[in-house]
């Protein structure tokens, strides 16, 4: 069988493999449209053929390509800059035709009025989507009363979410860091809902411009705490997602959404948000919820990212 040809590969994976040493790995998990390989040093490398999707430390295939993956669960493999080989050296996945995709978030500058428009739009999309364990909590981030008949998971997590949210809003970073322990790993799904929520907030904060330094420095306390706790308190797949998000790397649909927010195009935001909602069953919704929470925080903290900041940044 000829090797599968990857169409895109993420820049951080290229860098990771650039030492030209063979990296022993093991097939960690297999899904119909994706798989994860666990490299000997503990990090995960993911492959997918979901259309348009690629994750940090990952690669992707043309959608609809492949009728199955060329390895089985727990199989020993070797990763090297040219691709993925079986233990006996047969090339299973070829990287040589792959275009490099940059997983890093660009800095986002959101003028106040644009923030409001994005808030409006995302709220409408999320509220209408029936997607996300956290979505029933939407009224809460706008300071409104929560419905009395919250679903099980939402009811359980609500006090913790709003405690975290409140501490962030008041720049009480220590307290927020402590709260994160009450969130990591909670919820259904392979990446538990709360982790999707946290990934959005981590991603958003890292993408802010340098000038909101004070907030960024404070927030890095929270981020560090999350990264410290994640390996023991959530699944490996999820812990890796959080680690990437805290370093400003998100999967392609999520990255496009942040870029779209910045572009100011309502059409692009809507399109990108819908693509995010298509990830997983609740994952996309919980990410959007996190993004909305982050946008509200920005607005409340008067983190007005105006054009002036942009100029300073670019100097």
């Amino acid at each position: 069988m000829p090797p599968l040809s990857a169409s895109r590969i993420s820049g951080d994976l290229v860098e990771y493999l650039a030492d030209s040493k063979p990296h022993p790995a093991r097939v960690h998990s297999l899904f119909t449209r994706a798989f994860n390989l666990k490299v000997a040093d503990g990090c995960l490398v993911s492959g997918t053929n979901s259309r348009g999707y690629i994750a940090p430390m990952g690669f992707s295939f043309q959608s609809l390509q492949t009728s199955g993956w060329p390895f089985s669960l727990d199989q020993e493999l070797i990763l090297h800059p040219g691709g993925v080989c079986s233990a006996s050296g047969e090339l299973l996945i070829d990287f040589s035709n792959a275009a490099i995709w940059n997983p890093s978030l660009a800095t986002i500058y959101l003028p106040l009025e644009q923030q409001e428009r994005c808030l409006h739009l995302l709220t409408r999309i999320l509220a209408g989507s029936q997607n996300g364990i956290f979505t029933p909590l939407l009224p809460g981030i706008f300071g409104e009363e929560l419905p009395s008949d919250l679903p099980l998971h939402a009811a359980f997590i609500a006090p913790r979410v709003f405690s975290f949210f409140g501490h962030l809003a008041n720049s009480e970073w220590q307290a927020a860091a402590l709260d994160s322990e009450g969130l990591i790993g909670f919820g259904s799904g392979l990446t538990p809902s709360a982790d999707d929520f946290l990934a959005a907030i981590l991603g958003l904060y890292t993408a802010l411009p340098l000038d909101v330094k004070e907030n960024k420095a404070g927030f890095s306390l929270v981020a560090e705490r999350i990264l410290e706790l994640a390996p023991a308190r959530t699944s490996l797949v999820s812990a890796e997602m959080l680690r990437h998000a805290a370093n400003g790397r998100l999967p392609s649909p999520h990255q496009s959404l942040l870029a779209a927010l910045d572009s100011g195009s309502v059409f692009e935001v809507e399109e990108a948000a819908r693509a995010v909602l298509n990830v997983g069953v609740n994952s996309g919704g919980d990410f959007l919820f996190g993004l909305l929470a982050g946008l509200v925080l920005m607005a409340e903290a008067k983190m007005v990212l105006c054009d002036q900041i942009k100029e300073i940044d670019q100097c």
């Binding site: 259309r51 819908r274 298509n278």
Partner: protein, 65 residues
């Protein structure tokens, strides 16, 4: 009229039958659910018409109730 309302809504599709149609919709980021359709009553026409009758009876009962 409901028809023109459709034109102002986001299209959300339930697909019953060829799964490739479902995949195509998903690839366009349209919300869609695939039904794992199997002939009802194991494909027996007689059972099918019986089932339909039963349904009619129960719905007319509901209305009457």
């Amino acid at each position: 009229m409901a028809l023109n309302d459709l034109f102002t809504q986001e299209l959300k599709v339930i697909n019953m039958g060829l799964e490739s149609f479902h995949d195509e919709l998903k690839s366009q980021h349209v919300q869609t659910v695939q039904v794992a359709w199997k002939p009802r009553a194991g494909g027996s026409q007689k059972m099918l018409s019986l089932l339909n009758k039963l349904k009619k009876v129960s719905s007319s009962k509901e209305k009457a109730g």
